[in-house]
Amino acid sequence: MEEIKVDKVMDLKGLPCPMPVVKVSKGIKEVQVGQVIEAITTDPGALADFPAWARTSGNEILKTDQGDGVIKIYIKRDK
């Protein structure tokens, strides 16, 4: 699979609900349309929350990686 080019990394480890989506919704405004954020979180709820947030806000989850209690979500700003 093609390597995802990350434009901004957000370390959200240890932050519980609602902080991951609150921070990412702010952070996505700091990248250009088409650029990618890598959000690193330890909140298991993020697996359901980020896709819900992306659908509602019109952005795109490119990939989700899990391992060692850390979840990495790659989000492309679509608008």
Partner: protein, 182 residues
């Protein structure tokens, strides 16, 4: 014939305008009736999360929710006896509220607060500040203020705070996709 057509067009225009007025926006309206730590926390988690989801957020504080918006440092003089009594007995702001269950003379609340800190859950104080930064609108029920003898001078400095009555809340709720009572 032409006149009939124009009448129909005028009728349609009126209907369209009516539709626009009654259209639900991407907005959530919440009534914060409870003054408990746990319930207020839920309200603020939903409020801040809703901003992240692209919703406009309105919180209407009424009855036991009203003391959450008092400033712990502000003092006001000139209250009548009942007002002074309510003022002393009710919490002064988000830092003084208790759990709705398992308070156990304050022990439960203290335990919950230390647990929240340990688990990085934002405190009510932080939540309120964040809500302000995120543009959450706060409405305060004027009748509750009056009933409990609260004065505007003892309330917090919040970026977007309006004193109002039920009609203002209902107008917001009518235009909201989500309405909650907490």
């Amino acid at each position: 014939m032409e006149e009939e057509l124009q009448n129909q067009i005028a009728g349609l225009k009126a209907q369209l305008e009516n539709l626009a007025v009654n259209q639900a926006e991407n907005k959530i309206s919440m009534i914060v009736f409870s003054g408990d730590l746990d319930k207020a926390l839920a309200a603020f988690v939903i409020a801040t999360g809703a901003v992240a989801m692209g919703l406009e957020v309105v919180m209407f504080f009424t009855f036991w929710g009203t003391p959450l918006l008092r400033d712990k440092l502000k003092k006001v003089a000139g209250k009548d006896m009942m007002g002074a009594m309510f003022g002393t007995m009710l919490p002064k702001g988000t830092g003084q509220v208790k759990l709705s269950k398992m308070n156990m003379a304050g022990m439960g609340t203290a335990m919950m607060k230390s647990l929240m800190k340990k688990k990085n859950v934002a405190s009510l104080e932080q939540m309120l500040e964040m809500a302000g930064e995120l543009g959450v609108k706060i409405f305060v029920c004027e009748m509750s203020m009056d009933l409990m003898g609260f004065k505007r001078e003892e309330m917090i400095n919040y970026p977007d705070l309006t004193y109002c009555g039920v009609a203002k809340f209902l107008e917001e709720a009518m235009h909201s996709k989500i309405q909650l009572f907490i």
